[in-house]
Symmetry: C2
């Protein structure tokens, strides 16, 4: 792509560094900002810089936060004795959007994956065990990826928690709502048969 | 989507204002910037603001420019007597990327489209006629959209230029390189037959 303006080219290059944004898309975004009032691009740029400068990570659950402790951990209306263990911040947002969980979270920062060079020591596992020991936690709910790495991580953490008086659960696996039986993989289908639910409890959730 | 950080939410909202970027994609982009070094987000934000503040539009051809006159208009190596008339800045970038055109451009800012409320007076047509009169222009090449609006615009401008000693041409229409005959629309196919080329001239262009 040939540009007659260095300013334009530099801006396109910056957008094209973002994941999933090619140069044509980057150009479309930059030309959009160029058509708007100057205050729009100003606000956009300032927001991005302010976000990166001021955002913090919760010292307790490692979620993104505007202060030392995130708004979920500091909310006294939420059950502080129930921790949902997730891989990333994105998972917290996904679960929060269901509005079905009233406990707190613990963001591991990934899952154990030797092939990617990620071992337990790179994840926030010690701080989770620490929370369980000191905060009187009654239940840990694992909401990790449904694969070998996720299962390995659950197994590893569960062993660390074995001596502590805490209930350990994992979110249920099964056929997605709206999913077609014939397209489900064998593993999911097999698990959803072995973990079958009484129809009364299924109906009551609708 | 539920966020536990106002800073994060504000940044996602800013990205989601961009065309073709939904909230999920916006979140992915923001989390990407969050994983990078703070200087990356700083550079990104500053580039966008600087671009919007400092970019100008060429006083001659209305293309984007870093100065009063764009780098194409001020390049003495280019044929200043040949003007390619396009709708938008994006068309200039597309044609420049072919590296086949050595003249200058004139960005109309759109095409005549009564249904969208765009009349000739909203486009840079007067300044084009002015350039032809004052700059000794020998050829005008129209590179507008191949539709009714494009043809209307060509017709309108051509009438304005009728009394001036300038050659007026339009880029050729035809089957795209690599295109399949059977999928071409009738109009394109009909035009490409009536505007057929001698094989020698076709071969020499390869």
């Amino acid at each position: 792509m040939q540009f007659s303006s260095v300013l334009l080219e530099t801006a396109v290059n910056e957008f094209a560094k973002l994941p999933g944004i090619g140069r044509k898309t980057a150009l479309r975004l930059v030309l959009h900002l160029l058509r708007q009032d100057p205050s729009a691009a100003q606000g956009f740029g300032e927001t991005v810089m302010k976000m990166r400068q001021e955002i913090r990570f919760c010292q307790r659950c490692h979620n993104v936060a505007d202060a030392d402790i995130c708004s979920i951990c500091s909310n006294s209306m939420r059950r502080q004795d129930m921790i949902c263990v997730v891989e990333t911040i994105r998972d917290v947002i996904a679960i929060e959007s269901t509005q079905q969980f009233s406990g707190t979270y613990h963001v591991l920062g990934g899952i154990i994956s030797p092939l990617d060079g990620i071992g337990p020591e790179q994840l926030f596992i010690d701080s989770l065990v620490d929370r369980v020991q000191k905060e009187g936690v009654t239940e840990i709910i694992f909401a990790l990826s449904p694969n070998i790495q996720g299962d390995t991580t659950i197994y590893y953490i569960q062993k660390k928690l074995a001596s502590l008086p805490v209930k350990v659960t994992t979110i249920s696996r099964g056929i997605s709502f709206g999913g077609e039986l014939e397209y489900a993989d064998e593993m999911t289908l097999a698990r959803s048969i072995s973990n079958r639910l009484p129809v009364e409890s299924y109906v009551s959730h609708r």
